[in-house]
Symmetry: C2
Subunit: 251 residues, 2 copies
Amino acid sequence: MTVLRELRHQIPDEPLVYLGDTARVPYGTKSSPTVLRYAHEAARFLLAQRVKLLVIACNTASAVALDDLAKHYQVPVVGVIEPGARRALEITCNGRIGVIGTEGTIRSGAYERALRAGRPDIVVHVAACPLFVPLAEEGWACHEVARLAAREYLAPLLEAGIDTLVLGCTHYPLLKLMLQEVVGPAVQLVDSAQETAKVVAARLNEHQLLRQTAAVLYPRYFVTDIPDRFERVGGAFLGEELQGVTTVSLD
Amino acid sequence: MTVLRELRHQIPDEPLVYLGDTARVPYGTKSSPTVLRYAHEAARFLLAQRVKLLVIACNTASAVALDDLAKHYQVPVVGVIEPGARRALEITCNGRIGVIGTEGTIRSGAYERALRAGRPDIVVHVAACPLFVPLAEEGWACHEVARLAAREYLAPLLEAGIDTLVLGCTHYPLLKLMLQEVVGPAVQLVDSAQETAKVVAARLNEHQLLRQTAAVLYPRYFVTDIPDRFERVGGAFLGEELQGVTTVSLD
């Protein structure tokens, strides 16, 4: 939803189709083969909706499935890792970059690869932060519990002297204010949702796929569980009522 | 795994077949129709292994699916809610019982129903504690973060004067020491895993299904994701290496 929000800001005329695999989330604690299978099932569903570009708006799925999806399907596929990594390389001064994400994302090593591909001498410090997703979903982004967990997770990265921290999970922008407070003003945060939306706009432009007429369109929402919780949590996050959320089956 | 551990203590001669739906957990944030479907898929798998009794070792699935499973299948089906509720009614002095669990379990109202069925004048105070499962899995059971979250979740229950607290989620026994500290010595904790194992032993006896010969048997483990994480987390919890964990597909 953080990526969707950025897409709506940055390319407001584009029709968006959103699929949330709410019956099987979170992906962050699941294995690569399982996440890969789920990603293909989701991609096939969205392609059947005739989308012109596919965004893997999840770091775990991007880490595991981007190359494979890009190979299998005809449309451009954009993940959330490369945009964040590229931005981090642009803004770091001291060449020490921190990355936080789910267990799956961190274990995959995808950020280290993306960062080192851009600049081989970069120093990368990573930390898996499994409690951040439930904390964000609990609405405890600014709660003392979240602050304490953040201090614990981030201490080794701060001691290592990072000057840039990539929020390598699409839930983490919800914790941004609190995280900025914990890391202090000397560390810049990279919001991969924002960076991904920029890349999507550029890719659409490059492939001459940008919609030429203005329109006010609401996203179409599909989920795999019944919509109640998604409507409540997602609606609160976007600050609007989510209309016409439809349940679909992927398996 | 907390129920499995208790079963091994209480009925050590019984062969156990364990199925963990690791590709789709947690159930606690999912809707009733989805949890019901998953529970039936799991039950069919276990019955195909020719089990003589079925334990729904998950509060969310017990809350949603127990009656339906008991109606559909021939073997005795034991859930984890009724045993904990019965024990709480036995030990409460002031008739004020607290219940903590996942969003799904609490929303279902299953504990209130089970407690009031036993004693209509009972006063029940409930609290959903969505962070406890990730805290337990993170190994932060005694961490200050867990203590702070517990104090926040439990404050209304303690103010309401409960003298008994049901741990209404099979993960929560991992947090027992910390929870006892937070609630203080005047509140008794009910461990539904322990109570469920007692009921299983009684039901096997009542149906004359108890194994008559002693045997040292290791449980057979099935999971729906690849076994790595399960072997690591589950093995650490049981304090032994998990042998021959097999991946199966339910969908």
